[in-house]
Symmetry: D2
Subunit: 162 residues, 4 copies
Amino acid sequence: MKEISIIAVGGTIDKVYFDAKSEYEVGPPNIAKVLSELNLSISYGVTSLMRKDSLDLTAEDRTLIAKTVANDPCDRILITHGTDTMVETAKALMAIAEKTIVLTGALEPALFKTSDAVFNIGCALGAVQSLGAGIYIAMNGKVFAADKVWKNLDSNRFETRE
Amino acid sequence: MKEISIIAVGGTIDKVYFDAKSEYEVGPPNIAKVLSELNLSISYGVTSLMRKDSLDLTAEDRTLIAKTVANDPCDRILITHGTDTMVETAKALMAIAEKTIVLTGALEPALFKTSDAVFNIGCALGAVQSLGAGIYIAMNGKVFAADKVWKNLDSNRFETRE
Amino acid sequence: MKEISIIAVGGTIDKVYFDAKSEYEVGPPNIAKVLSELNLSISYGVTSLMRKDSLDLTAEDRTLIAKTVANDPCDRILITHGTDTMVETAKALMAIAEKTIVLTGALEPALFKTSDAVFNIGCALGAVQSLGAGIYIAMNGKVFAADKVWKNLDSNRFETRE
Amino acid sequence: MKEISIIAVGGTIDKVYFDAKSEYEVGPPNIAKVLSELNLSISYGVTSLMRKDSLDLTAEDRTLIAKTVANDPCDRILITHGTDTMVETAKALMAIAEKTIVLTGALEPALFKTSDAVFNIGCALGAVQSLGAGIYIAMNGKVFAADKVWKNLDSNRFETRE
């Protein structure tokens, strides 16, 4: 069985740009592309569950994410997600007791030269292999417990909230 | 006190190129540059202890690395290191019982477009925050216990060795 | 006096992304940033005349661009411009007889990893130094006379039109 | 017939790095890779004539380059070349009277994040389409006549020499 199951639900990390319309849309999971270009020694699978801006995620979407995670045969789950409601989704997964779940995403689309996507994916992957059961967020170089983190919109980063 | 202490000893990750001579040399720690360009929520310090190809590291160098790690007031240590003898240095740190130590590096210099450096640094940073005391290597997307890993020269990656 | 005068009027090449709103806006001239990072042997100046999607450019805007070019003391003018109406602006400059004018831009924002911006800027710079008086467009690796080019929306590139 | 014939003879632009030996070697022509990733509107062909550091080029090599250029059915020739003796090779082509020949290269290997290769290739391509017959060097954003340029080793760039 694969060591890590990756579930993508959308967000800035997956945003693509269509010149014709000069607008962004959420595309296929960039984590699949990033990982495929590396020569990895872990086994993983990527599921594209939905392609949504995180501000558009509904309670039904979160129920579906939780159900998908709970039913996944893998004990280590990495979720790529939009940043604006990542904390909310993390809290919606709290009832899942026996898995290690790490959420990550990006503040800039992965196709930007200066994107934090590759670094964040690395950080989340390091964390999800190393932690015991629980729900975590890996952003801005830090691994947070899901109930002790918020996105500070002014500094545009995730920070600890006791 | 800072959360993570980073010690750089050289290796491919820090290689720079001088056009005049068409040769590589080991430059200052690239991890400092990579982390400074991200908007991090962790505190860290970077020490440039030596600038060596890992094939040139001596027993004295390893003694110095071990002493430096042991004397560091920080409990979480990330070491950037050349890949060819990373496993050997990891084993030389085994006597240090109460710290979480993660070694990483890169198979391509950090200044290459296709380098694994940023991903590896992310992975090591995620791991060093998440693991209990012990010596680990974070390479090729996997976090290995230091006594269960080797560098497979044919596949050019770190793999598990039981 | 400087050898080349660069005038930026906006377009995809200068698009920046604001995470908060998940929208693009036209930012400051990226050509200034690109050229400043190279070690050039030519002298040039950059004027940010306007910051517009080229679909939003009006007849008044084109009159202003033509006046600015005509009054510029420099005989070699490079204009960065949105791609959708680049040909229209080029034609509006036809009355200017004694200058070498090259328009360029990008099909992807300069801050994208896969952007054509740096290549196009190089191509336009090579052309503007080498051509006699006239109006030209440098896009997709080709230098076109302004009256023999169109943007093919299906192939998303500039092509010759006799 | 193709519009532009490209001949690669090696140099820094084509340097690749082999981790095993921590040494550079001159690889296949990077200009072919760079151009293939763009959506070009010109037709071209790439010939890999030799793979040499330009300091290693001999009089025989220059005779071969000149013969190859002279015999090429195409009137517009772009040559990628090492920078240290680019001027010498350009002078060795002076006897070819009826072609437009532009030499370019890079001060940093094309696979570096900060390489000037893509910009230089763009600049040379813009110049080779725009100039009349003659021998030119396109480096550091400037198109030089071959008898009025030198590589200033102190500033690490090509400059005008009257």
